[in-house]
Symmetry: C2
Subunit: 140 residues, 2 copies
């Protein structure tokens, strides 16, 4: 993503953790600051979206010919973030993931809804919900 | 915004129009491209948010001591954008704006919902709905 999306490079996104709990991305405050000296809403939205996108991408078998796009997103900004940005996307329920991968394999296209949170000091600062569509090239 | 939000600078956001129709912001594709060679969803979300934020800011009387933050946003990505990004936020209904400014003046805080669209070749590519909260410093 760093190589092909300039804005992600400018955000200085890093993988903080990928384990049984899900995928956590982080980004320093400085390049993502707004005029209020807190994290820029667009950066928070972006980091949460990328955490879900990344988690989904890691589940795919054929990375080369499968694309993932965000179809819909809903964000709720609860508290400002005044330190490092951290977005956590937990693994979706196993059954949901199994159905998603099965539909993708059978129809060449599948949709799934994921959630992510921006956390600071154990408190939820931003809630993210997104619908993602994965599809194989040329419906192959 | 260019001076105080690094990411907005990296997006190369410009004011394309501000008139009776509302506020239109534009940004070139190159700095906002994704790995699919279309506009990055985060940039589309950002440009639509900024169009609404900017329109609201232009309605304020006391720019120095009033802050506007986005509280909630909903995005629907309908079609990819493969050229210049353009986000248009139309003026909200006059009565809604009057009520918003009246509440802000009386209570030092007010909330308003705005819509914006990303358009290309006359077609809607992205629909944005956002709730914004304006407040005066120290409830002054």
């Amino acid at each position: 993503m760093h190589d092909s999306i300039p804005l992600v490079r400018h955000m200085h996104v890093r993988v903080a953790a990928f384990d049984g709990g899900g995928l956590t991305l982080s980004a320093p405050l400085a390049p993502n600051i707004n005029h209020e000296q807190t994290a820029f809403g667009v950066s928070l939205a972006g980091l949460a979206t990328l955490a879900c996108w990344g988690l989904l991408w890691l589940q795919l078998e054929d990375h080369e010919h499968t694309h993932i796009v965000v179809n819909e997103s809903h964000l709720h900004y609860l508290r400002p973030v005044n330190g490092e940005l951290r977005a956590h996307c937990p693994h979706p329920p196993e059954e949901m993931l199994r159905r998603f991968l099965h539909t993708l394999a059978r129809r060449g296209k599948a949709r799934v809804e994921l959630k992510a949170e921006i956390l600071q000091d154990g408190q939820i600062c931003t809630e993210f919900q997104g619908a993602f569509v994965a599809y194989r090239e040329n419906g192959s």
